[in-house]
């Protein structure tokens, strides 16, 4: 099995003005792997450092120590343009622009592949359309992005990530603002993408019930506890989830 994402002795946290002295480390060094085609969910109580870990993996935040490897390449050796073809992100940031329509937003996924005049080839346009179809938003193509519901916006951003054609996709709390059916839909969609297109997906969520049923592997994080990975069933049965959340948990 190919290792798509590998964290080696990774230390995340906030440096003290660029100096390691006085910096705040959020966890003990992290060792973890995501294989190609896997769907992994990261969960844990608030303040465990989930978003920081994601931002560190995406190269948006500097690691305090250790390494991130994506598709066998060390993050430190990758330039931003190279990164943009390996890993795409869906974050919780809101896009509030007045005139961006759905097609425009999805088309930004092609930016790493087109020059500064942003002229898309027929192939580029086809990839954008396919991405919209895969996430079921093709009928919204010319709608203004800001007029969509939260669930629909989330799908547009996933389509953007698909258009970026990266083997690895990271989603920070993709289900946070969604109602129950939309959450279910979203996870099924992500699972389907893993199975059909061999994408590797790493997502974070607080919805234990939801993710337990859909993901291949669970990563657990909590303040002062090391990141632990395992199958959902295993982590429930050996009471690791209880330990990490500090409350009793039963299926």
């Amino acid at each position: 099995m190919t290792e798509m994402l590998k964290l080696k002795q990774l230390q995340i946290g906030y440096a003290n003005q660029g100096k390691l002295k006085g910096s705040v480390s959020l966890t003990s060094p992290i060792e973890a792997v995501v294989n190609k085609g896997e769907m992994v969910a990261l969960t844990g109580p608030n303040g465990a450092g989930k978003s920081t870990l994601f931002r560190t993996i995406a190269g948006l935040h500097r690691a305090l120590g250790g390494f991130v490897e994506i598709d066998g390449k060390s993050l430190n050796t990758l330039s931003l343009p190279q990164m943009s073809k390996l890993l795409s992100v869906v974050f919780t940031d809101r896009i509030a622009d007045a005139y961006l329509n759905v097609f425009d937003v999805v088309a930004t996924g092609r930016y790493p592949y087109i020059n500064q005049w942003m002229k898309m080839s027929r192939a580029d346009r086809q990839i954008v359309h396919q991405s919209m179809e895969m996430t079921g938003i093709a009928q919204f193509a010319s709608r203004l992005f800001r007029t969509l519901s939260d669930g629909e916006q989330q799908k547009v951003l996933i389509a953007k990530a698909l258009a970026q054609q990266t083997p690895l996709i990271i989603l920070d709390e993709p289900a946070a603002f969604l109602d129950y059916p939309s959450k279910l839909n979203l996870l099924k969609l992500l699972k389907q993408l893993c199975e059909e297109t061999q994408k590797t997906i790493l997502l974070s969520s607080h919805d234990l019930e939801m993710i337990l049923r859909h993901v291949d592997k669970l990563w657990l994080m909590a303040p002062n506890l090391p990141l632990i990975a395992g199958s959902p069933i295993q982590l429930i049965e050996n009471k690791t989830i209880e330990k990490y959340f500090g409350v009793a948990y039963e299926l």
Binding site: L80, M83, D93, I95, Y99, T108, W117
Partner: protein, 347 residues
């Protein structure tokens, strides 16, 4: 937007620019018949000495300054609104025009109080001195901003620093004015009202060249600007070095603001209003369209304001700053109301 609609919209804007250019040459506070204007422009006429002077020395230089100042301020405003993702951002927000004002106030104070000459009485040397001191003040602020932008990681922090610089420079300017002589204060007030006639004919080529460099460079920032619309994190994930892009955008917007403010004074409103007008005209966020659209709209607004400021019957010309706001503000309100209506209809 279809390419046909795009072509029509740009053609209309271009047509508007040409009409306004002609109008700006034809009309002014001194009445000259269209026939005489035509003769002065295309033939040599010894009998039309006065008219020739007015047209070649006043109206045409003013027109050129209005065109480039309008385009430059509009683009600077667009860049800053996108960078800060704030519809209220404009060229004055970074404190660059305040820096220019301080430069002018300082020069007037020093020459007036210590050298004992009122600079305003020195003719073109005085005008050039004012331009250079404004430029110096603006550039000092710009350099400071560039230094700060390499230190802070959040764009909002940079925005706050810019606003603080504006207050600081404003306060220092106020102090200088308090101790300045009456004639100097008068000269400062007049500079502060903005004018398109502050560039002498010999300096126009430099002004045009500098602004053109800024305008052409801005087109190369279209892709980074489009990326920044999604926010810094998405932009970075799409391969953009956001820190570098931020510094480039500030440098460019600052450069345009500095040059234009130095020669035309702190002209309000064009930089704030025009990007909104351009966006609602073209209904797009694509900077490859918005940048030229803002240039064209900025030129139209500036030429129109210049025309209004010098309508026949008005003694001299009205302060441009007052005219841009008088015309721009109702326009922006109309744009917002129209947007609001189309929103309610859509939902």
């Amino acid at each position: 937007m279809s390419s046909r609609r795009l072509f029509i919209s740009f053609s209309l804007l271009l047509f508007g620019i040409v009409i306004l250019m002609i109008a700006n040459v034809l009309w002014g506070s001194v009445l000259i018949s269209p026939k005489s204007v035509f003769e002065v422009l295309f033939f040599q006429h010894d009998t039309l000495k006065g008219e020739s002077l007015i047209i070649w020395e006043y109206r045409i230089p003013q027109l050129i300054v209005a065109v480039f100042a309008g385009a430059g301020l509009a683009v600077a405003g667009l860049l800053l609104q996108t960078l800060f993702r704030n519809p209220l951002a404009d060229p004055s927000i970074l404190g660059i025009s305040s820096g220019a004002s301080f430069g002018v106030a300082l020069l007037l104070f020093v020459t007036g109080t210590f050298a004992g000459t009122a600079l305003s009485s020195l003719g073109w040397i005085g005008t050039l001195g004012i331009s250079l001191s404004a430029l110096a003040g603006a550039i000092v602020v710009l350099i400071f901003l560039m230094a700060v932008s390499s230190k802070v990681s959040h764009i909002v922090s940079l925005l706050i620093v810019g606003i603080m610089i504006a207050y600081l420079a404003g306060a220092l300017t106020g102090l200088l004015r308090f101790y300045s002589r009456k004639e100097d204060i008068q000269a400062f007030v007049i500079w502060g009202m903005g004018t398109f006639s502050g560039v002498s004919r010999s300096q126009i080529p430099y002004f045009v060249l500098a602004v053109s460099i800024g305008l052409v460079s801005s087109v190369f920032l279209a892709k980074p600007l489009n990326m920044l619309l999604l926010g810094e994190q998405y932009a970075e994930n799409l391969g953009l070095n956001t820190r570098f892009a931020t510094r480039l955008i500030i440098l460019l917007a600052g450069f345009l603001t500095a040059i234009i403010t130095a020669y035309a004074g702190p002209i309000a409103f064009i930089g704030l209003a025009v990007p909104h007008i351009a966006r609602s005209l073209f209904k797009t966020s694509d900077h490859l369209i918005l940048i030229p659209a803002s240039m064209a709209t900025g030129i139209i607004l500036a030429l129109f304001c210049n025309l209004i400021a010098r309508l026949p019957g008005i003694e001299g010309s009205l302060p441009i700053n007052a005219v841009t706001s008088l015309i721009g503000a109702p326009f922006v309100i109309a744009v917002i109301l129209r947007q609001h209506r189309s929103n309610t209809l859509a939902s």
